[in-house]
Amino acid sequence: MSIPIALERDDSVAEAAKARRRKQLSGWFYLLCVAIAMLSVVVLVVLLVSISVQGSSSLSGDLLTNSHSELQPEQAGMWSAILGTLFICGVCALAALPLGIGTAVFLEEFKPQRPELRWLRRVIPLGERNWEHICTLLYKGTRWMHGFVQLNISNLAGVPSIVYGLLGLSLFVYMFNAFGQITVNESAGWEWGGVQHYYQVLSLERGQVVLIPQGERTETTLTVDEPMMALLPSGEEVELALWTPGTPKPKSKELRQRTVRAGAKGGRYSRKDWYYFRLPFGRSFLAAGLTLALVILPVVIIASQEALRSVPPSMREASLGLGATTWQTTRNVCLPAAIPGIMTGAILSMGRAIGEAAPILVILGAAIAKNSGPKHLMDDAVTMPVLIYNWAGRQQEVYQELAAAAIIVLLVTLLLINSLAIYLRHRLSQN
């Protein structure tokens, strides 16, 4: 067999030139790679520097301990937003992690097997062939279901967070109006635990009130025209005194405190303990947290699946080979081995939750003038990203700086969280 022309031809000059060109191209490409890869570092640096420059002047203790202020922006802070974020993310974690990890375990560890149907078989005489058919059908069915759930999760991962916000609005805030609407003067349709209804009436002592337990009456308003029993906010039970306008007011502070103007009106006031629970949730931090849980659920699931997938199959085989059930294998072998990965995924997804603003805007609105964290489950809250969104949208220089400072706080928080993830990944994968 003769050697082909292309190989035999002595074309060393042209070939050498070609080799040189190729090497040069490779070199240029390498440089391009380096340049582009460094670009992302540059972007990050520019971002961090520009934000630090803007925000450094507003970084102070006030920023961490005060809340938003319209009148004294110089002293405005993000305390209530930090609390709000904390609470909302807490709810989010409590809801998303079990659900997400559970789903991941189901998808990864409980892959469909041919069903056993042991007892059914004993009860229904169908014949071996028929049973085989049924088992095969069931098997195919469950496989199809598994595939469907998996596809569904990839789809959920692609759904924009604002759409989750809309879902949360219908599902948690209004609950499709199944429980009526929440209005300001009537009690919500369905409420449990942790709420006592009073009429709150201003007393003569400035800024102080007396409370009259509501008892059986369902009216929203009480008119005080006769002496009756009442409670001081301290819980002390007292006899109400009445004062008619035009007569002199009582001198003693103690007396003034339990005296109200004759004919004074009291509106309903509901004292809520932290576990006050109501349907629908309304614009509450609970609804916001649950909505965020929807947003990060696919992230948690996918990360946990990755972690479980990276457990070597040989570990599973070893355990099953020793006669462990699938759940025993999962609990004793797979979960312990996957925990670092799952934790990392969980923490990173919490980082995502902390930074989410769009769904929160939908659920809680853009209001930021709240000066405390949520007081009960149905209370509303401000979050850091929403605060930043609001501040950044303002034109006053001082709010711009505050926004930048708040961003620094937020980024530092996220950085801490990420380092925690890295640390945990490291620690847990060591032993």
């Binding site: 097997q113 041919r114 042991r118 088992c135 040989s314 070893a318 355990s319 080979g321 006669g323 059930t325």
Partner: protein
């Protein structure tokens, strides 16, 4: 039983070469512990095993040999239903486990057979040592904890017994509570064997247990197999003809999903009935 003793009586019945597939089935029924008949196995549409019949004798070592991909591991995994977890794997035929000499039988493939209980009676050891990332003690105690109600003392005793049985006790007795991952490959493999026998199986399946080991470890594991034969029926898959001839009493040669020939090891290696067997054991391919 002497490690060097030869095949059990009745292990070499007269069989015409054409009937190679059924030859194994003719092994003495009284001492058979696994009976396989007309067995077919698929992965999805791909048939990995075709019409295979074979019987595995009790308290002997049976070696499965054959080139890569011929279905040795597949058959092994079906014996203790390990293939349940492989999507798409399914099988047809009979695969019967004869519990003890009294003849109590378990239909392995029947969906009504509890795979978990089955695997307790049939231990398995894999090609690559796969200890759990736990302590040595925990590794051995893993199975017993699942299956036995044992006191602390009993458990200690059991772990010691299993490790001694696996010829590992002397090497690890001082570091029972250290990670098993710190052991050498050969030690890990013996640990896996200890772990498998600690649940008290009757049968031990081994899928190329030495292929990842160095020569020294290999010979220790081989010695161990000799010893274990007294109490367990052992099936070993190996790609090394030498190993098969060293450790096994009976050998089955697989090729492309079919059993080509099975019989006493000596016979297979010295006067095989089939040309392909001869080609294989003499190294013409594989």
């Amino acid at each position: 039983m002497d490690p060097d003793s030869n095949p059990k009586p009745g292990a070499q019945p007269a069989a015409t070469p054409g009937q190679a597939n059924t030859d194994g089935a003719a092994a003495d029924a009284a001492s058979t512990c696994i009976e396989i008949g007309d067995f077919n196995a698929w992965y999805g549409d791909y048939q990995a095993i075709h019409q295979l019949s074979l019987s595995v004798p009790r308290n002997q070592v049976t070696a499965f040999i054959g080139p890569s991909g011929c279905g040795k591991s597949t058959l092994l995994k079906w014996i203790n239903r390990m293939n349940d977890i492989v999507p798409n794997a399914h099988a047809k035929g009979t695969l019967t486990l004869k519990e003890d000499e009294s003849g109590q039988e378990v239909d392995v493939l029947s969906p009504s057979t509890d795979a978990v209980a089955l695997r307790r009676r049939i231990g398995i050891v894999f090609q690559k040592p796969n200890p759990f990332p736990k302590t040595i003690y925990q590794n051995v105690a893993f199975g017993p904890r699942l299956h036995l109600n044992a006191s602390r003392g009993e458990m200690d005793e059991l772990v010691e017994w299993a490790l001694k049985k696996a010829a590992l006790w002397d090497e690890v007795k001082d570091r029972l509570h250290q990670s098993a991952l710190g052991l050498s490959g050969g030690q890990q493999q013996r640990l896996c064997i200890a772990r498998a026998i600690a649940i008290g199986p009757n049968i031990l399946l081994m899928d190329e247990p030495c292929s990842a080991l160095d020569p020294a470890s290999t010979s220790r594991v081989e010695d161990l197999i000799f010893e274990l034969r007294e109490q367990y029926s052992i099936v070993i898959v190996t790609h090394s003809m030498q190993q098969a001839s060293r450790v096994s009493d009976r050998t089955a040669f697989f090729y492309q999903g079919r059993l080509i020939e099975s019989g006493a090891t000596e016979q297979i290696f010295t006067m095989p009935r089939e040309q392909r067997t001869e080609d294989y054991v003499s190294g013409k391919f594989g």
